[in-house]
Symmetry: C2
């Protein structure tokens, strides 16, 4: 059953992305190819899933959030393309495939990232109002942009590259921006578009905050224990790059203990809701994943 509902959400996301992504024989076809290469490179679609599960838990059809779910995935994908660039992490592989700049060159990779980021806001604004009123759409766009920008994801990336991260508190703060902000925004936007009240929005936000940290801890554990084949990238790359992680800072055992605590907190945040089965299962699946 587990795999079925996860696969179902992934398929809904893929189908919607196919509808929204540009294609065809334009003079800028190379750009479209580069955008499509990365958006359809086999992502887990975690952020769209959180958004859709939130809508469903709140009694709304998943369509309610579909344009924003795709927008969120476009923003996540652009961030991976830019993070992989030679000037940043200089990675050759992503999800087992050559990174965007390895296939299309650096200039096109930068522009494909720019175009995906821009397309996210286009899709949100152009199609969001098919499912929700304009007040909610504007609010959701504002949340999306704030989470993705200089006070969110991009800010976190700058800290990750340049700041010395030496203790757990600094590590948590960095991840809270770099990966946490758009995971939280996925749940919060799902709640806002579904007409949730502020108590419900805060509870979803808390669920995502804690899930996000547990998810990051799993990433750090897999970087040490995972296999290169299932991860699609070299293992041990964090340690090799002298990056602080939950594992390097407190060891595997303590990291796993911490992770359990965050998962517990995530599930407790759902207590005010009914129909929490999917979001609860998602926690277990994310920390049991091998890739």
């Amino acid at each position: 059953m587990k795999n079925d509902f996860i696969a179902g959400y992934a398929k809904i996301t893929e189908d919607a992305l196919k509808k929204y992504m540009p294609e065809g024989d334009a003079a800028q076809k190379k750009l479209y190819d580069a955008m499509n290469y990365s958006i359809f490179a086999g992502g887990k679609r975690l952020r769209p899933m959180i958004m859709m599960m939130t809508a469903k838990m709140l009694g709304k059809p998943v369509d309610t959030v579909l344009p924003f779910a795709c927008a969120m995935e476009m923003i996540h994908t652009y961030s991976l393309i830019h993070d992989d660039l030679p000037a940043m992490d200089n990675d050759d592989l992503r999800r087992g495939k050559p990174t965007n700049h390895k296939v299309f060159g650096e200039a096109t990779a930068i522009l494909a990232g720019d175009a995906l980021l821009t397309k996210a806001f286009e899709i949100a604004a152009k199609y969001g109002t098919e499912y929700a009123d304009s007040d909610k759409v504007v609010k959701a766009i504002s949340i999306l942009a704030e989470a993705a920008g200089s006070e969110g994801m991009v800010g976190g990336q700058v800290i990750d590259i340049f700041a010395e991260v030496e203790d757990l508190e600094q590590l948590k703060n960095m991840h809270a921006l770099k990966t946490g902000a758009i995971i939280r925004a996925s749940g919060v936007i799902g709640a806002v578009l579904s007409g949730a009240d502020s108590e419900q929005i805060n509870a979803i936000d808390s669920y995502c905050y804690n899930l996000g940290i547990a998810f990051q801890i799993q990433d750090d554990i897999l970087d040490v224990l995972g296999s290169e084949e299932s991860l699609g990238k070299p293992i041990g790359s964090d340690a090799e790059n002298n990056k602080s992680t939950y594992v390097t800072l407190c060891g595997i055992d303590e990291a796993e203990k911490l992770q359990k605590e965050y998962i517990k907190k995530a599930k407790e945040s759902l207590e005010i809701f009914e129909n929490t089965e999917e979001l609860s299962l998602l926690c277990d699946m994310l920390v049991n994943r091998k890739a």
Copy 2:
């Protein structure tokens, strides 16, 4: 009088940008510094000006469009930062100052561009509704994103880098995307937020379309005739890079003749309006500029 009203609009834009741009002692301060460096590097503020003049012509206070005017300038600025990168045009100077990546390094320049693009949508969504209803704000965000993305500015940049531009038609099509799309969007968003009807929106669109081409022709003429000092970048760089321009394709005299025709068409587009003095003067100033 001319300089007064132009300087007035530029000052309104600068003041609003100061209000909207991030600052302070965050862990990502380096990012804020890079964003502020380029946004306050002495741009002409042409796009905000077009938007505000449009609102004023339509009888609205310029504040009506101020968040979007700043958003447009952020998008224009991010595009310059990314265009200057080593992987693209590899320029060392912009407006007489070292380019963003020369001062802050390539990684930060890429991220500062990303953050400015994202901030544009944040400001539009967060503050747009202080001056216009949500329906108009969503419509304006949609126009902004479409003009800036893969079917607009970014698409044009890809064509400029990779496609062979060999005749006037191809050159016009490239510029229609690369620089034309967001100039048109500046006028159209100004009209939409001011509650213009479709005839008025089309007329503003036509004005901007023609003004944009005349503006580009002036850029190409200045690249040959201008002085390095007043341009803030080396003259003759287009010819040196083997780039097709209005001047290389049809010579200075023909380019100047073409430019006059587009200015005439731009002014004719304003005939359905009253109070067209500022937008009309703007045409003359842009084609008489030396930098």
